[in-house]
Amino acid sequence: MSRCKTVKFFYDLVPLKPWRGLLIRRHIEKCPRCLAGLASREEAGSLLVQEGANIADFLWTEVEKALLAESGGEHVKDRTIRPVVMRPRGWAVAAILLLIFIAGFLLFKDFRSDDVSSAAAVPARFELEYVRVGGQPANTVVYQPQGSDMIIVWAGKSP
């Protein structure tokens, strides 16, 4: 009994939660006399609201509405992926789109091949703008043997 009073005295004396928590854990929770001064689970439960009424439907309606408004009108329910079911009209449209795509691809391919051939022709052109030897304009001879792709450039020092 005297110990309970001492604990109570120190509990009131030092208003620090860790200290009070320690006293509760060490003494009050284990002492039947101290526990008698506290409400039991049943007593507390009889005063509290124990089970909120089931308002899941009401809450869900409101929450869904709020989430829909947040997502900018997009129907949240439809965010799950569903298998695509196409009607005959849909197939026809898809076929036309496919044909347009193939035709476009072929046309583009032709243009591209032209571009490629002209681009490929560029290295075949030979240009020589200026040749210097020893800091002076060179005496240059360009020679291509008949029937050959080979080009020979002869650059000699100017006299």
């Binding site: 939660k17 860790p18 009070r20 928590g21 320690l22 509760i24 854990r25 009050i28 929770e29 001064g37 506290l38 409400a39 689970r41 007593e43 507390a44 439960g45 009889s46 005063l47 509290l48 609201v49 124990q50 089970e51 909120g52 009424a53 089931n54 308002i55 899941a56 009401f58 809450l59 869900w60 409101e62 929450v63 869904e64 709020a66 989430l67 949240v76 329910k77 965010r79 799950t80």
Partner: protein, 182 residues
Amino acid sequence: MDEQELIAGCLRGRMEDFRMIVERYSAPAMALAMNILGNRADAEDACQELFIQVYRHLKSYDKDRSFKNWVYTILYRRCLDQLKKRRRSAELVKKMGRETVLVTPANPGHSHSARRLPSDLMDKLKAKERTALSLWANEGYTAGEIGEVLLCSASTARVYLFQARKKIKKLLEQGDVSLQNG
């Protein structure tokens, strides 16, 4: 269905899974909110905000923590916000010089079954004490778990619970008529 599966489903965008979470938690969340706030209309608002927050922040939920505790932590914070709002509006009304405030329920369709927390519990117990008491009496939470919800240490939670139990015992011994629930 397992809770973690439901969460994974929600993260994949399956609204049906989120609906199941709402169904699973709406009744206990309402009970906790009513015990903190004292009336149904505010509790409904808090629960509504709770589930919106849960949906928004589900990505940040740490799977190592208890989902229930995480949900209750959000609810506790929403309830504190509601109490702050209520205090502010009460101060405003006081400034305006009115004596009485007429509070209409947010959802009149449900108000017929509304239960209020005994007024003495609201007056004598702090919000933290009511939360600790509700989690302990209704959910069987330990001081450590209560601390997780209240975001404080187990020692501090123990103190809140002790104060609440002591006050309730005192009220019960006084045989106060205003403690009649209903």
